[in-house]
């Protein structure tokens, strides 16, 4: 391989993924990449290195950001994208990690902006539009690697903070802090505040976490169409159990527990 070729490859790689700096925030080691494929993918790669404390992969933009089911997550510069690597997390916290994260995100948005952010079970953070419809402002994707003795959680978060414009296919479903309030926010302050709320929640009991989650959750008490294992069921959302499952009441009065599926307001 000639030196020129080497240089070309190096710059191509650099364009896709650029590590710039690291710093400490609330006891977590933050690795900052202006551009990255996906913070969750990088976190999974780094998590293999037997980390001892919290590490966060932070990026200004992602070109392959993804959510549930590997669905593309629009991640241009302006938004806040990070993945938190939690080595040796307890099983109790692991089960409710999406709940803990959702509550910390809603509290952060409410504290830093004037927006009344809410949660749609299990992992969507929404902003109410005209009192009736909702637009997504943030998303969560938790990926766990679980062995008998080892457990690592990766909490991936994308928040539409300072994104001014969305492509047509998203404009009816997504919004951002700047679009809602007209004001930009400081992404680092946002991350700092999130970490504080997240750490506080980890110390709480399952019951406390679920109670807090229910305060911000919008499906509870509503009639929904639930898609469970490809079947569509009409039901009313009844409650959440202490492991994070949603309980829905069917028309016949029977209450069933749902751990996986999608629910839409009917």
């Amino acid at each position: 391989m000639t030196p020129i070729r080497k240089r070309k490859n190096w710059s191509e790689k650099k364009e896709k993924e650029t590590f710039r700096s690291q710093f400490i925030l609330r006891g977590a080691r933050i690795l900052f990449y202006p551009k990255i494929n996906s913070t969750n993918l990088k976190a999974k790669e780094i998590a293999k290195n037997n980390l001892s404390g919290w590490t966060i992969i932070l990026a200004d933009s992602q070109n392959k950001g993804y959510g549930k089911g590997k669905r593309f997550w629009f991640s241009p510069s302006g938004g806040l994208y990070f993945s938190l690597i939690l080595p040796k997390i307890s099983l109790r916290n692991l089960r409710l990690l999406t709940f803990i994260t959702a509550v910390a995100l809603v509290k952060t948005i409410r504290k830093i902006t004037s927006l009344g952010a809410v949660i749609k079970w299990p992992n969507d953070i929404l902003i109410v539009q005209d009192g009736v419809s909702f637009k997504k402002i943030a998303g969560i994707l938790v990926e766990n690697i679980i062995g008998k003795k080892s457990r690592i959680s990766i909490v991936g978060i994308g928040i539409n903070t300072n994104i001014k414009n969305f492509p047509n296919y998203l404009s009816s479903k997504a919004t951002s802090v700047v679009r809602e309030t007209g004001k930009e926010v400081n992404n680092r302050s946002f991350l700092n505040s999130f970490l504080k709320f997240f750490k506080d929640s980890l110390k709480k009991s399952n019951e406390e976490i679920v109670e807090e989650y229910k305060r911000y959750e919008i499906l509870i008490g509503r009639s929904v169409k639930a898609t469970i294992q490809k079947k569509i069921i009409s039901a009313r959302v009844w409650d959440f159990d202490k492991e994070g499952a949603i309980m829905i009441k069917l028309k016949g009065g029977q209450i069933i527990k749902v751990l996986e599926g999608s629910l839409e307001i009917s």
């Binding site: 999406t98 992992n123 938790v142 690697i145 679980i146 008998k148 294992q229 492991e243 499952a245 996986e260």
Partner: protein, 138 residues
């Protein structure tokens, strides 16, 4: 690779070899020690009592009988979204065997043992409770 080390005025002959993918042998004088990498690429010592079975298997599939359990169970409930291994295949410590989805969390369940898959106990899209058996190893 062969080398010699000195510890407190005593010398030891050391020989390190990779006898199979992810199975390393370290011979110290005439004693053999076996190691396998876990999911963090960290070398983990394989139990001493299993050495004879390792030594007698030459050429064929070397499956050390690890002291770990022969069952892979899930500590978390969820729906099986992907089974990554088939019956008859060998798995190494740290390998992802099943992905479970619950509350939009993707949980990659890994094997703690190096072994051959005897039976896959679950099917894709099946709901499993925490503590349920997913895989039986030989």
């Amino acid at each position: 690779m062969k080398t010699k080390i000195f510890l407190k005025d005593k010398s030891y002959n050391i020989e390190i070899s990779e006898i199979k993918e992810n199975l390393f042998k370290v011979r110290v004088e005439n004693e053999d020690y076996f190691f396998s990498k876990d999911e963090f690429d960290k070398l983990v010592l394989i139990e001493r009592r299993d050495y004879p079975s390792l030594e007698s298997l030459k050429g064929g599939e070397i499956i050390p009988n690890l002291p770990q359990e022969k069952e892979i169970k899930t500590p978390i409930a969820g729906v099986v979204s992907k089974i990554h291994i088939k019956e008859g295949e060998t798995v190494r410590a740290g390998q992802v065997v099943v992905t479970l989805v619950a509350m939009k969390m993707e949980n990659e369940i890994t094997s703690e043992s190096y072994g051959k898959v005897k039976r896959v106990e679950i099917k894709e899209n099946q709901f499993v409770n925490s503590g349920e058996k997913l895989i039986t190893l030989e």
